[in-house]
């Protein structure tokens, strides 16, 4: 199968069956690299299993990660107002 069709099939499999829309698939010879973020370690394994079941001829390199959920360490202060796009220097004052 052409790489482009394979990658499209992987993307649609993960989205339409698994609800994972943010995963990149990259072909390197006989290896399929999966990259992106999912919300749990279980999902990392689930995504790999789905792809392995559908494409048993491929070796899968699973590089999916799970974003952290720590408390915010800082806040962003929003003071003043940013300049509108296309504003002149006179508009900004």
């Amino acid at each position: 199968m052409k790489d482009e069709y394979l990658l499209a099939q992987v993307q649609r499999l993960l989205a339409e069956d698994g609800g994972e829309l943010g995963i990149d698939a990259l072909r390197r010879d006989d290896t399929l690299v999966l990259r992106g973020e999912v919300e749990s370690a279980d999902r990392c394994r689930e995504v790999e299993r789905r792809v392995a079941d559908a494409f048993p001829e491929l070796t899968i390199l699973n590089e999916l990660t799970v974003p952290r959920v720590h408390k915010p360490q800082e806040s962003e202060e929003l003071t003043g107002r940013p300049a509108a796009a296309g504003a002149t220097s006179e508009d900004r004052h």
């Binding site: 609800g19 829309l21 943010g22 992106g36 973020e37 999912v38 919300e39 749990s40 279980d42 999902r43 974003p67 952290r68 959920v69 720590h70 408390k71 915010p72 360490q73 800082e74 806040s75 962003e76 202060e77 929003l78 003071t79 003043g80 107002r81 940013p82 300049a83 509108a84 796009a85 296309g86 504003a87």
Partner: protein, 241 residues
């Protein structure tokens, strides 16, 4: 009037495997924020079972929680049930509506709508051709009109717009250009710029960046969890400026 603290996160995609991950960081949320906004994609497939997970994770917090739904929350075609479960847990779910929350530093108004795609000025979809294409664009137009009406309805000290889809391309940098039309629409920014608004919050763009600004000068923040990489972000809006 003083400083209103807005906590926000989107795209938490809860299911049973995620329940409990966020909660330790949420139990003292009142120390950091006056309100917590959820910018859609609260579930994975939009099922009632997943909504129960959201209710368990974000219900019963010591600050008001205000949410919009995202495309994932619509996938199961059970929006009414999903919304009902979240509301029963004390969450306020907005779709073309506004709500005002009293804080010790002033009244914060939140107008919420899911929004939709279509792309950005100069490269956007238009309501022309096949009925499917016209339906696509008109759904975004409708959502944007709801957002404007919701913003206009708010009587408050600080006005915040909450959507799932992005109103600007700024916060999509890092996403493939080819999918920008599926990530947001300039019509949402136009809706936000039509009413004095201090902050626009959205999610949906997992590979995007945090910060942007509408053509009218309203700050935009992408709070998709894979972008902010923490339980929630906090924005302090200083009304004295």
């Amino acid at each position: 009037m003083g400083r209103v603290r807005v906590g926000a996160v989107g795209d938490v995609h809860l299911d049973r495997d995620v329940v409990g991950r966020f909660r330790p960081a949420l139990d003292d949320v009142a120390e950091h924020a006056d309100i917590l906004l959820l910018a859609g994609d609260l579930t994975r497939h939009g099922t009632p079972e997943e909504a129960e997970c959201v209710a368990a994770e974000f219900g019963g917090l010591d600050v008001p929680v205000v949410a919009v739904l995202g495309n994932h929350d619509y996938h199961g075609d059970r929006v009414t049930e999903v919304t009902g479960i979240l509301q029963a847990a004390g969450l306020t779910v907005l779709e073309g509506e506004g709500t005002v929350v009293e804080t010790q530093n002033g009244n914060l108004g939140v107008a919420g709508a899911k929004g939709f795609g279509g792309g950005f000025a100069g490269r956007c979809a238009t309501a022309f051709g096949e009925p499917e294409m016209k339906d696509f664009v008109r759904h975004t137009e409708f959502s944007a009109s709801l957002l404007t009406k919701a913003l206009e309805s708010l009587e408050c000290d600080v006005r915040v717009a909450l959507t799932h889809y992005s109103p600007v391309p700024d916060t999509l940098q890092g996403e493939p250009l080819e999918i920008y039309p599926f990530l947001g629409s300039y019509l949402l920014a136009e809706a936000i710029d039509a009413v004095p608004t201090q902050l626009a919050i959205h999610g949906h763009a997992h590979a995007g960046v945090e910060r942007g600004v509408t053509p009218g000068g309203v700050r935009v923040r992408n709070v998709a969890h894979p972008v902010i990489r923490q339980a929630y972000s906090v924005f302090v809006i200083d009304q004295t400026c």
